[in-house]
Amino acid sequence: MHPTDRQIGDHIDRPFAKQFDKPIQLLDVTKRFKAAQDGEGEITILEDVDLCIARGESTAIIGKSGSGKSTLLHIAGGLDSPTAGKVLCNGVDFATLDDKRRSSLRNLHIGFIFQANLLLEDFTALENVMAPAMIAGRTARDSRPRALSLLERLGLGDRTHHLPSQLSGGEKQRIAICRALMNEPDVIMADEPTGALDEENAQEVERLLLDLVKEDGRSLLLVTHNNDFAYRCDNVYLLKNHALSLEKGLGLDV
């Protein structure tokens, strides 16, 4: 059965979504890529992976480069599809949704932060932050107050009308955080958010991310090489040999 728009949450309060203690669940997820263009042979990235992200908790995935951490994050966020298994977002299986509903689910329930602080180059800091709300169908006038308050909260009140090219790496990443928080998502998914920053900025971003998640009662799924950052999260998983193993915390049974 297809989920209704109400389940996906076309309104900001999303009372239905708040009933879920596990905003993201991965059930027996397997991901394989074709080894070459001609399609002969496959490379296994993930094999029967189970993962559950609890509401209000931070979870970090660590592992070597090429182990499949980012792939896991993209699958968890509905950016990519698993070869086998299920990914549930607030109880809704991504695989059962068409592109419109899947995009809407991503827009309202998940906030992404990437290493390369992918901002929209021609948009000002304020417009970048307002983008998810405008994609959700809200007007610029309606979105502006929350975007401004987020920018103020992250110390970017004087940078609202600057273009990304006029901002430092740390500032850009903070704007990416504001943008991820704009639609009050249940889960923040961060892929190496401090990877491109110097130590000072990296620590600032780490602190902000963890504090914001705790304060707002959101969940954080973090992929990082930085073990110090990872071990400040509630749960830490190591991705090795296509599977996850719990390194810290209690984890959560799917």
Binding site: H74, D99, F112, D122, P132
Partner: protein, 404 residues
């Protein structure tokens, strides 16, 4: 709203020459459309003016003549005048003659025309045909134009020998020569008509050529319907509309216009290829942003529509500027020609033909709409083609490549 805002920002983005590219395309479309508008308006104006003169003097709107094999019209002037939609109808005779000036020995062939009395004073005729000296009605002699006077080195009051071919008793036609004085002088708005036509008195020519040579000329705004009504009333008569009479010229004018449109269509085609390449380049440069937009919650269709819309916006802006420029140029055509003449005179030091040209521009809203529609469809198709092939990558792949 987000799509429109993003498309507009993308279309005129400062980065990687996108703004320059879009501005060049906007200018190309604007100038092309303005040129199209000016050229088509001027051509319409010239066409209308030329055809109006032809219809007034040469062919009339409809002329009724006996069908081949019939001896004279079976339809009278009163029958024709009673047909609804006819502004004015008159009898006339047309034949050909050789005009010789015995003094100078010069000769020329001429079309001889004679209109029934009131035809010369009808509104349409009087606008294009002027008698400078003498009266055409009851004229004792022949009316010639200045051009023919110059051709034959004639002077006012001279005699000319005119040789007609009149119906004979035993032979079909026999030559008939007579000396005629130049009894009137005329001018018309068509040089070719003036230089090849002479007028004689209608009654005199009627007595010479006989009733079978009489035709009926008609002025009407509904030539097609009048012609078909005449065909219904009298199958023995042949009603020739001005389009049929001037078929060669009319077709040439249409062909000229069609060729101009084809030529300009090629220009728009080239501009739209640029639009396609610009969109493709934009898409390549913005692939990561496209992927980011998808991560933020845009559907694939939304992201594609942003890229298509930016091309459409560039086209629409070009069209609006083009139409405004075109209308401005058409309304100030004479001033533009004077300016061009001044510039040309500055460089050449002498007056140019531009200063004497008098254009009557005639803008057709339908042609403007069709031209805009054509350019718009072309732009949409080419922009879509620019988006279609490039945006193939999965978002995860693009974001992954952007991150590492």
């Amino acid at each position: 709203m987000f799509i429109l805002r993003t498309a507009l920002k993308y279309a005129f983005s400062k980065g990687k020459g996108q703004r320059t590219s879009s501005v060049v395309i906007v200018l190309g479309i604007a100038l092309g459309l303005a040129a199209l508008l000016v050229i088509s308006s001027v051509m319409n104006g010239l066409q209308t003016a030329q055809l109006d003169q032809l219809r007034a003097l040469e062919s009339f709107d409809v002329s009724v003549e006996p069908s081949s094999g019939n001896d004279g019209l079976s339809l009278g002037l009163d029958d024709v005048s009673g047909i609804p939609g006819i502004d004015f109808a008159f009898e006339y005779i047309e034949t050909y003659a050789l005009v010789v000036d015995k003094t100078s020995g010069k000769s020329t062939s001429a079309r001889v025309r004679a209109y029934s009395n009131d035809a010369y004073y009808s509104e349409r005729m009087a606008q294009s045909l002027h008698f400078i000296a003498g009266e055409p009605v009851g004229m004792d002699g022949v009316a010639v134009s200045y051009t023919m006077m110059n051709t034959l080195s004639l002077h006012s009051g001279d005699d000319v020998e005119v040789t007609f071919l009149k119906p004979g008793r035993t032979a079909t036609v026999v030559p008939y020569s007579t000396r005629m004085a130049i009894g009137a002088l005329f001018g018309s708005s068509m040089t070719e008509f003036s230089s090849s036509t002479i007028f004689v008195d209608y009654q005199w020519l009627l007595s010479l050529m006989g009733e079978s040579s009489v035709r009926i000329g008609i002025y009407t705004q509904n030539s097609e319907s009048v012609a078909s009504r005449i065909a219904e009333l009298s199958p023995d008569s042949k009603a020739v509309t001005w389009k049929e009479y001037n078929r060669a010229l009319y077709s040439a004018l249409m062909l000229e216009k069609a060729l101009m449109y084809i030529f300009l269509a090629f220009m728009f085609l080239i501009i739209c290829v640029n639009l396609k390449n610009s969109t493709r380049r934009l898409l390549r440069n913005r692939q990561q942003e496209g992927a980011m937009l998808r991560a933020l919650g845009c559907t694939r269709a939304t992201v594609n529509s942003i890229f298509v819309l930016q091309g459409v916006l560039v086209c629409l802006i070009g069209e609006v500027i083009g139409v405004l420029l075109g209308i401005l140029a058409v309304n100030n055509l004479q001033a533009l020609l004077d300016f061009a003449d001044t510039v040309a005179r500055f460089f050449t030091g002498s007056a140019t033909v531009l200063g004497f040209l008098q254009f009557q521009a005639n803008t057709s809203p339908l042609e403007i709409m069709l031209s805009c529609g054509f350019v718009f469809i072309l732009a949409v198709v080419f922009t879509y083609m620019g988006c279609r092939r490039t945006y193939r990558h999965e978002i995860m792949e693009v974001i992954f490549n952007a991150s590492y």
